[in-house]
Amino acid sequence: MSVGTGPTVADASAAGGAAAGSPVPALDVAGMSAAYGPYRALFDVSFEVPAGGIVALIGSNGAGKSTVSRVVSGLLPASAGTVRLDGTDVTNRPAFKVARAGMAHVVEGRGVFASLTVEENLKLAFRQRAGRRAVAESLVRAYDAFPLLGARRGQYGGTLSGGEQRILSLAKVLVVPPRVVVADEISLGLAPLMTDIVYDGLRRINEAGTALLIVEQQVDRVLEIASRAVVLEHGSVAYRGPSSGATDAVERLLGSRERAEAEGSAEERDRDGDVPGSGAGPHGRPGGKGEL
């Protein structure tokens, strides 16, 4: 639930600076706080994405995951804290400069230009990231990697399905690999088959050396691909550590610790005839804290 009553933050080695001799993290967020005007969204968030690594950023909606990705990519200023990309401080730099420094943010929802065709979307990105001369070659490579884009190159971005739009966004970053890709709820609203293709694309991008920060609300897929996870709750970090521990943390946030515990000791309970979960308070608040 809230940080005060919730689980402790595990795995100290995830916090702060890397140990001596280890490479500079691709993305290093320290003490980040952010707000939309008076609407505070993040409170002292810290985590790292190791070079070439994959980190999952999860939590329910409203927890601040998208805010993290926006501050990291420069769309939103941070009111406190720092963001380092490959060791370089990019905090509060204009978004286009952060992008040029090696950041690629695949935004939530429709992350493509609806009024431009698939090819124009790609050209816009390639011209900037790869340079004018490399545009043609980059287009070829993009269509090779994702044939379904090639089939739709003259179609307007707005007419693509949700999955196709995500693939278009991925094509941009596969062909010209940045240092870090922040993928914001990339599987939202996608059918399982499309989600497979998208995650496969992410995997390929990671194999090319790019670090990934994958922001998701649904945890199943991302925890398969990510080695580490950060769980956000109401703007603060509720868990930071290996993916294996993340599921528990998230379960707790949904107020089902009793159920998890109850299931774990179902045999004993059944023998005693108790109703599982009876240890919870009147509204089922986890941690069993007293009355309001």
Partner: protein, 667 residues
């Protein structure tokens, strides 16, 4: 058929003049998010400089063209972007409008000052000789101007389409138009793209200005301004989106006007007056009928939610102690002023202050509609004129005393305002401003031009109309009348402001969503405040006519509406105080400028002063004058009452005020 074509065909080049300007407006709006009211001034600027360089400095035409169109025009566009519009939040529609209008009004005034010899005749043509008839189509002669207009429009349209569809810059512009944030994520600087768009738009404005100049025997700013507003009509029908549609509508307007002109009886009311106002009627039509107009000026960027909520465009409230001090000062001033006017005031200044009283009433109407209603109305001078004209009609035809007629006139003006309010009930901000400007121009070209004037000459107000010795030059009766009327209007405004209606209006301005959510009927409020504003404007108009002793249509033209707005915004649009300061400031400064050698520009200097004053609206929506007053009064108070702490704005909450000044908390 030949006959029909004989009218229709020459309409095409005429329509192209609209189209050429409309295309530039659409491009600017699309690429920058600003409906650029200053466009006409940019066109005029280039045309003026071009003509000046050729005629006064004797530069070769080609060189003058390059300097005025290729160098100056884009530079002006870039200046607009960097110094003015970039500072304004996307959602702050009124600030964008006020800034555009300041430039529209200010630039020609600056030119008038810098180049005292500002009457340029017969501007040179760079393409086709205006006087020569190049060929005939269906018997209609097509001269140089016509060819220029058509060629220029065609070339510009094609060039822009190529730019937008085929070039890399065009691609970036299209992306930036859809979402400036998304394009930044691709590593492209949104700011740079917008700057380029302003440069291109400026170039087209300059080009249009220079190419169209030879059509006007005398180079006057008003022609460009009229043309620009008419072009708004074409742009509006294109929903400010489609270049080809803008061109098409522009051409159609020209053709229609020409055809109607050909077929309607010559000399009837319709043929001249109604036709010159046709484009503005088309504009009104677009605003009412085209669905896209309702969301004009609204943010379309899907990533716009990243922006923090706009801090309220209202200023800090005055501390109550300050209020008390200022009120006392006003009462003292009132007494001193009245006594002086009744006794020792020299004649010249007596006239000036009397005019000031009349103008103050008109400006009070702006306090009502803009300060309290939160809407920018660009037809307040028109409403004043409606009042004045109605009263004059009643006096001259029915012998009704002008003072009573004035009240009827006020009702008439209120009625006009109410009709406008209903027509614009779904429009806000930009759409409403356009509607009012269109209404102003329609009136200018019809009612004010035709009714009981001889060739637009003013109607004289005779003492027979007014009675009560008010027009007696040696008496003080007018002063008493004006003071009483102003006082009554001030009391009306104050009572409304402090009463329920004022609170409902303040709620609407603060958040129209929440206002309707608590049960405020927004439509009714909208109509009510417009009606009140119209009534007050009407009274002011009549008063002004009595003061000037004539009902002069010039005085109520749409350009004065713009000037009035710019003046009141500078002095303070939210309070009756600001209106009075505006009224007196306007006339006193005019008088003072007569003492200055006319070399320095007289009236134009006045306009420049207020126009640039209005630019501060973005930072100080309460009025730069009001801001300075508070600053100095606070300092003064602190000096007088040393040791006593002044009330600090951050409230008892302790935490950061929800809307701390500046964008986001960390920004």
């Amino acid at each position: 058929m030949e006959h029909f074509l004989g009218f229709a065909i020459p309409g095409i080049p005429y329509g192209c003049t609209y189209a050429l300007v409309a295309v530039g407006l659409v491009l600017t709006y699309q690429a920058t998010g600003v409906l650029n009211f200053a466009y006409g001034a940019q066109a005029y600027l280039s045309a003026f400089v071009f003509t000046y360089l050729v005629q006064n400095e004797h530069l070769p035409v080609a060189l003058a063209f390059v300097l005025s169109v290729v160098v100056l025009a884009p530079a002006v566009g870039l200046i607009f972007d960097r110094l003015l519009f970039r500072k304004i939040a996307a959602a702050n529609v009124i600030a964008k409008l006020v800034t555009g209008i300041s430039m529209l009004v200010g630039i020609p005034a600056v030119l008038a000052i810098l180049f005292t010899n500002n009457n340029q005749y017969n501007p040179p043509s760079i393409l086709f000789n205006p006087g020569v008839v190049y060929f005939r189509v269906a018997g209609a002669p097509i001269n140089g101007i016509a060819v220029t207009a058509v060629v220029a429009t065609a070339v510009t349209l094609v060039a822009l389409l190529v730019l937008i569809r085929w070039t890399s810059l065009g691609l970036k512009m299209r992306g930036a138009v859809e979402s400036r944030r998304l394009i930044e994520l691709d590593g492209i600087s949104g700011g740079r793209v917008v700057a380029s768009a302003w440069a291109v738009s400026g170039l087209i404005a300059g080009l249009a200005g220079v190419l169209l100049a030879p059509a006007y025997g005398q180079l006057q700013f008003s022609d460009y301004a009229d043309l620009m507003v008419a072009a708004f009509a074409a742009a509006a029908w294109a929903v400010l989106r489609s270049l080809p549609v803008a061109v098409l509508v522009g051409v159609l307007m020209g053709v229609t006007v020409n055809i109607l002109q050909g077929y309607l009886p010559v000399g009837s009311i319709w043929s001249s007056a109604a036709l010159t106002s046709l484009p503005f009627v088309v504009l009104v039509g677009a605003l009412v009928l085209v669905p896209g107009m309702r969301t004009l000026g609204g943010a379309k960027d899907p990533l716009a939610s990243v922006d923090p909520p706009t801090p309220p465009t209202t200023a800090t409230l005055r501390a109550p102690e300050l209020d008390r001090v200022i009120r006392i000062l006003w009462y003292v001033l009132l007494v001193v002023f009245s006594v002086s006017m009744l006794t020792w005031m020299p004649k010249i200044w007596e006239n000036v202050f009397n005019a000031g009283l009349a103008y103050s009433v008109v400006f009070l109407s702006i306090t009502l509609i803009t300060g309290m209603g939160g809407q920018l109305s660009l037809c307040q001078a028109t409403l004043a004129g409606v009042g004045a004209f109605m009263a004059a009609q009643l006096a001259s035809h029915l012998g009704l005393n002008l003072l009573i007629g004035g009240l009827v006139g006020a009702a008439a003006a209120a009625l006009v305002a109410v009709v406008l309010a209903f027509a614009s009930v779904r429009l806000r901000g930009l759409g409403l401003a356009l509607m009012t400007i269109a209404a102003a121009l329609v009136f200018d070209n019809t009612v004010f031009a035709e009714v009981d004037t001889v060739n637009g000459q003013p109607i004289n107000v005779t003492s027979r109309w007014v009675g009560l010795g008010i027009l007696n030059p040696d008496g003080r009766a007018f002063f008493v009348l004006a003071l009483v009327v102003l006082a009554a209007c001030v009391i009306l405004v104050l009572r409304v402001r402090r009463g329920s209606i004022g609170r409902f209006l303040a709620a609407m301005q603060g958040s129209s969503t929440a206002a309707s959510g608590i049960g405020v009927n927004l439509t009714w409020m909208h109509v009510l405040v417009f009606g009140l504003s119209g009534a007050v404007a009407g009274i002011g108009g009549t008063l002004l006519s009595i003061n000037q002793q004539s009902v002069n249509p010039q005085l109520f033209s749409w350009s004065f509406s713009l000037v009035f707005v710019v003046v009141v915004v500078t002095t303070g649009v939210r309070t009756p105080e600001g209106a009075i300061q505006a009224g007196f400031g306007y006339v006193v400064l005019q008088q003072l400028l007569t003492y200055v050698p006319s070399r320095l520009g007289g009236n134009s200097l006045l306009i420049v002063f207020f126009a640039f004053g209005a630019l501060t609206y973005v930072a100080h929506p309460e009025g730069i004058l009001e801001f300075q007053k508070r600053r100095w009064t606070l300092r003064f108070e602190r000096l007088l009452l040393r040791g006593r702490t002044t009330p600090a704005p951050p409230g008892p909450d302790g935490g950061t005020p929800a809307w701390a000044s500046g964008p986001a908390v960390g920004g």
